[in-house]
Subunit: 205 residues, 2 copies
DNA sequence: CTTATTACCGACCGGTCGGTAGGTAATTAG
DNA sequence: CTAATTACCTACCGACCGGTCGGTAATAAG
């Protein structure tokens, strides 16, 4: 049963979330007002409060919204039986670069940092529902390679440090210096990704 | 000539900057009000405007304040003639972990990301006066090792990506998840630093 | 001792903040 | 057809925002 009303309600929620996410990523949480969000969502502020109980609720919806899609991209890779462990690892790293730098949820780390003290629950959720599953998916690939004897055994936290560190920092740098007209010269995603991938594969040999 | 007035003025500026930096790091730029800053600085809001022309001016002062000290720690290492290139590199990495995770200026990356669109000049300054000199200092050590034949030649941007990436991400993670009571279990600085250092040295052999 | 300057303050400004009360047109249920 | 519900609106609230005003006590200069 998908009545016209329910469809319009879902559409509105979606429209609000995408518009708000853009604003939060651009201006930060405290720097984005509910009136601005309302304008960007083609709505009145009062209508926003019909769909969401408050600014924090709306923020949680924005953060949570992209979890599934981002993690699906990884699980599709791990589940692909026709790939070797090394092929899976390469594909997973590509996917991590893509989501962390391009997708809204991947770019939200600075935003989480901004509100982490005010809303610790959002930070917890981001960690358990987004960061940890990403790590688990990556580690599953590594363990598969170890079991097959093609990867050497490495320390888990060390590997995560070296794997996620450069990617997240690259994403953060591109946010910090988003206004630079020579952004891709300073922070060339593809170049850096290639070299990074080879180092990680090298660690596992 | 250091009159009582001038001393008190300098003291006040210093007091304001340190108090403001703490607040900005905790609540973000937009989330910190001038009245809150005034209270934390034991002053009236009006007096704040005697020392700084506005909130942006105060923010710039906070960001700029720690540049010199953080960079000095690195130049002391590069200038130390009694160290080998590898010893310098190890010491430099230690120093980078220390400043990036502990010092206010090192922890400011998420803050710069928050305001980068509104104040691109601050982002530029952070890049040219803080990031670039750090990279230059580190690269000088690498080139010294290459010239002495103890380090292999590596790509500059790749090396920076692998060197700074994990450190900045670790700092960001500790900001994002600062409220976790098991923060040091999830993000153990010393452990991660040791493993990271060995990988970097390994890259250069 | 007089005068100017300095570092600071209380009181206030127009504007915006997050949030709400009450109403209305359109859809749905009975 | 009627009554209820839904999705949305206009108009407004007190609190707080960044910033400014006209002073004032303490110091420094002459």
């Amino acid at each position: 049963m998908l009545s016209a009303e329910e469809k319009s309600k879902a559409d509105s929620r979606e429209r609000i979330i995408t518009a708000t996410t853009d604003l939060f990523l651009e201006k930060g949480f405290a720097g984005t007002s509910m009136s601005t969000i309302a304008k960007a969502s083609d709505m009145t502020k009062a209508s926003l409060y019909y769909h969401f109980s408050g600014k924090e609720d709306l923020f949680i919806a924005c953060v949570t919204h992209g979890y599934a899609a981002a993690l699906d991209a990884l699980t599709v890779i791990t589940a692909n039986a026709s790939l070797t462990a090394e092929q899976k690892l390469r594909a997973a790293i590509d996917a991590l670069y893509e989501t962390t730098i391009t997708s809204p949820v991947g770019r939200m780390s600075p935003l989480i940092a901004e509100v982490s003290r005010a809303f610790p629950k959002v930070a917890r959720s981001f960690h358990t529902e987004y960061i940890e599953p990403q790590r688990a998916a990556l580690w599953q690939i590594v363990e598969e390679g170890v079991a097959q004897g093609v990867f050497a055994r490495v320390d888990q936290n060390q590997f995560f440090h070296l794997a996620f560190g450069p990617i997240v920092t690259l994403s953060l740098s591109r946010e910090m210096f988003a206004t630079f007209d020579d952004l891709d010269t300073h922070f060339p995603v593809d170049d850096l990704r290639h070299g990074h991938t080879e180092v990680l594969i090298g660690m596992l040999r």
